[in-house]
Symmetry: C2
Subunit: 707 residues, 2 copies
Amino acid sequence: MIEDRVLEALLKPKAVAVIGAAREPWKVGHIILRNIVEGGFPGRVYPVNPRAEKILELKCYPTILDVPETPDIAVIAVPAKIVPQVVEQCGQKGVPLIVIISAGFRETGPEGAKLEREVVEIARRYGSRIIGPNCLGIMNLDVKLNATFASNAPPPGPISFISQSGAVITAVIDLARMYGVGFNKIFSLGNKADIDETDLLHVLARDPTTSMVLMYIESIDRGQEFIKTAREIIKDKLVVAIKAGVTERGARAVSSHTGSLAGSARVYEVAFQQSGIVQVRSLRELLSFIRLAGRYSRPSELDKPRLVIVTNAGGPGIVATDACEKAGIELASIGPDLIERLRQVLPPAAALHNPIDVLGDADPDRYCKVLDIVLKYPEINSVLVIATPQATTRPSELADKLVNIVNRFGKKIVLVAFLGGESFEEATRKLVINKVPVYSNIEDAVDSLSVLDRWFKLRAKVLEYISEKITLIEIDVKAIREIIERAKSDGRRVLTLDEALELASRIGIDVPPGGLARTEDEAVHIAEKVGYPVVLRIVSPDILHKSDIGCVKLNINSPEEVRAAFRDIMEKVRIFAPHARIVGVHVSKMIKGRYEAIIGFTRDPQFGPVIMFGMGGIYVELFRDVSMRIAPFTRLEALDMIYETKIGKIMMGYRGSRPVNIDMIVNTILKVMSLAVCIEDIVEMDINPLLVTDNAVFAIDVKVVVR
Amino acid sequence: MIEDRVLEALLKPKAVAVIGAAREPWKVGHIILRNIVEGGFPGRVYPVNPRAEKILELKCYPTILDVPETPDIAVIAVPAKIVPQVVEQCGQKGVPLIVIISAGFRETGPEGAKLEREVVEIARRYGSRIIGPNCLGIMNLDVKLNATFASNAPPPGPISFISQSGAVITAVIDLARMYGVGFNKIFSLGNKADIDETDLLHVLARDPTTSMVLMYIESIDRGQEFIKTAREIIKDKLVVAIKAGVTERGARAVSSHTGSLAGSARVYEVAFQQSGIVQVRSLRELLSFIRLAGRYSRPSELDKPRLVIVTNAGGPGIVATDACEKAGIELASIGPDLIERLRQVLPPAAALHNPIDVLGDADPDRYCKVLDIVLKYPEINSVLVIATPQATTRPSELADKLVNIVNRFGKKIVLVAFLGGESFEEATRKLVINKVPVYSNIEDAVDSLSVLDRWFKLRAKVLEYISEKITLIEIDVKAIREIIERAKSDGRRVLTLDEALELASRIGIDVPPGGLARTEDEAVHIAEKVGYPVVLRIVSPDILHKSDIGCVKLNINSPEEVRAAFRDIMEKVRIFAPHARIVGVHVSKMIKGRYEAIIGFTRDPQFGPVIMFGMGGIYVELFRDVSMRIAPFTRLEALDMIYETKIGKIMMGYRGSRPVNIDMIVNTILKVMSLAVCIEDIVEMDINPLLVTDNAVFAIDVKVVVR
């Protein structure tokens, strides 16, 4: 939660103090003050420095307590050791927002971490909030405030940026200055001792001047709140995130670098998807997108791309088509009337379909005639212009004319790919100056557009999800707690087979009829009761891989076979697991299903319960035909989980296969989800296989790990 | 086959004629002549133009027949209609190589195609070879020959380029000029009426001045020869190719554009892999690689990359690590002695592992001290330098110092990623001028290195393949032909089940014991002979999906059940396929296997027989767990086919599963391959499922389509 006064400080600050403001121009405390002054912040600015009278023409104050008003923001750039004392004073003064630039905290080791906790506790006592420490600072260009020690600021505009890396901010600023991309608010998160990405997303959701949000993320701390907040902001703002540290090695680099724990890459992917946030696949994609965002920064004015490619060469047209197809971008179809109009301005050899090939001898005029026709067409809302250097291309003139066209069709997206080097240097510069997104290859242009495209698709899906209510399925909590307590009091973290099967049936998932037999006679009795064929399995807290040591007997068809199987299991135990505690042998009816699925959950330290559905069996890890969702979620999301897997598609009736009752699978997923949400004591659960027949499911084997 | 005199003309031309040389500076025939003259070609140049005395100070000849010697190359730039006559004269003159620039052939439709065939026939009569028509021309910068109508030429160097798109050549030249990337030979393929990519690859294999080859390919015409030729050249030259038209839509664009038929994307992938050619995933990757190739163009002087990342910011270091991990590039480990040496030049807070974080306050000197230490280390052969714009970065000075370092460590690869925009403009220019590969994002740099990395890995594999002999397995050709003839004489293209099973057994693949029954009695007789349980299946040339209409009966356990099943099948036929011709009912022993595989082949129009292995069953297309190879291939390649699939990994003993006899699977693949190679009449075959037990395989269902 961000309090109103902190929100006010972040959105509309009127007075800022710089604690540790320095006279020496190379010192961070000086650079920040200078950035604020030179940035043209119209509010009051108070340098705090006990050993200076004036810095940059501004009167200095010995402490924040001496400042004649309570500033909205105090920026702290003093040595780490003094920070607690300074924060204490900020608290006393009632400063709502403290931005701690100083390094020397958690990132340096245990002692720094202790100092950091201390600082947060002090601030909390006074109700002050902290950004940082160990950060670059914040910018609010909407009010011309640059409270960072970055060398430069980008031009103002509607894009905001939340970043866990200060260096990525300076790189983006540098790029933004070159391409004239306007930014609104820039937040450097630093060590995230207090305010984190979720808080700032919450702030930006309430910021009418921000229409797009970029995020550089190494870790998300409060996963559930993050998703909730994101689902709110993406309704009318486009949010793009890069998650760094996605690979195993990368993840190690995160933890050694910022001390923050990275969740697994897959869970982050799922989280972004559920959030409606577009996850870019590389920093390159983010940087490419920024060029597009520079001009087309108000997503509410745009629509899902329906693209036309206009090229002066066939080969690059094919390459662009390939790239669009891979990215899933819709290529607009060119209707007969449009073809007719194009024919009038193009030579007979030109290709009039999409891609439109204006031919190698096209001059700037021919390009523009085509663009003018195409962009007037209501069904087409974006164009990728590709030029290769030919004798008649005249890049510089082409650039001038493109600028004109792009300005005329303000709300239609025009991207330019100049394929070459030398010939396009001047032309590229012209487009850059005029904020026309220009690229030196086709794929960067397509990637940029793809970010927008993915947002439209993802947003539509998430809006559908949000419109539905989450209903947890009622489960027998009392009985389940009893099963768990029994295991715990026994000193066990893993339930035995009979306990786990009982648990499954308590959440309403059928298990094959059967029971626990302690003797041969009991085994035969159960078999006769449930009917042949039956399955016999050892039940022991000490035997995890039952079938590996021959303690699972399938397809048992008579009392004699039951007895033989029982004896053989016991013999195997004597040989392979002589010290195992034996609860008995589980006897159950052998059921034939059409499919083997897996449904289970685990708990992610950042995001909470993650539910999985997919193809079951012993090779789950090999085929990885699984989908995941962070709980809780709706029926519709459960249905999508099924559809996202191959086995799910088959169950739904792939290529004429008879569909199973999908509602039943959805319900089973929701039952497992409800268990995960309601019983915190279970840390992991797998139902594998979950046998699926046309109209029923059976939990055949269940693994449950408790806390 | 390229004749010696054509090879000589391509590698060491001494005299060139330009037929259609024009006085008007804007005409293609003038531009080509001017390019040859201005390019400084030291040989003789003969303009041919019946209506001119002199062009560009050179004496003109009315026809090629009037030229005082036989030129090695005649470049033709006359209207399409006159081309046959001109080619006739070239033939009479004995010109070995004719480069036809003129358009108006196959690309314009059937009449142009006819004209093209005519031209090729004329040339063939005289033993002349043709490049083009409809092409940009050729360059041989080794002898300073620029016989193209491109506006510019790149500097000379060891890289050659074969391209099916003239525009991509002009774009690459433009880029090469900017980055100072040296090229050797550039061939524009045009319509490939005669000489194709395989011929030119063959030429470049014999060209001592070429050490790297780039290819832009839309289609490959002679797949088998291409692979053979590639396997020769990649021994000591790096070959990189982009295949345009990889997606369905893209492929359509190919065929509408150049009239050439594109093979399926997957087959091309397989072909490149078998060839040892690195297939780039985008034009961007090719253009990125060209910058690296500009400096590190002699792969024989390099080794598989073992990379160190040096960065002034943690975030980008993580991003780079992610990118390397995804690309499979080996990050060098930093040993204790190296760490010790780094410690001496870096502040305590610096990260000394890979990535090495020199910290945000690093100046150019600190960067260079670290690079100097790292590059002296024999275990490290490549470095990615990342810089973000910080107060002390001083990009321009950093660039100067980097140039110095890069020059000093000539054979170690140094790539630079400048993350930003404005701040790095001058520094980037400095690196570009000095041919240091510089990128504006991390991923382009990593992609470039990845091309090299993939080549080293691929080459090693292909060299292993080449070292082994291909041995076809003997199959009973006579018996197989008889089966096929029987079907053909019957007017059938698809073999019936009993024929197909017989065929499988004729190539040495076991089928379950059984036979064809025409009556209930015969069925019972067969069942009794082979033993229960048995399977009954209808045999009819008119029933393709047997099980869909209930004409497959599994798990039949007694004579009574056999009779009932037989009658039921016949009843189902009466209901669902009343007009089907019935051969009988196939009765066979029901066998239980551990796995269901698929082995089959198809014929690709470009590459010939493509053999497939993978997970069988009814969802082959959904799971796509299959690998492919173009036949013929070696045992080792068959083994790799198995290993490339998940089901194959399982069969080999994934995670402690009991391995099956893999030799047996390899042999089965080789048997199918031998069939594909020896019996051209079979166009398609599927064994699915191929039942796999520990020590045997059985073809359960077989589909064979004949020509």
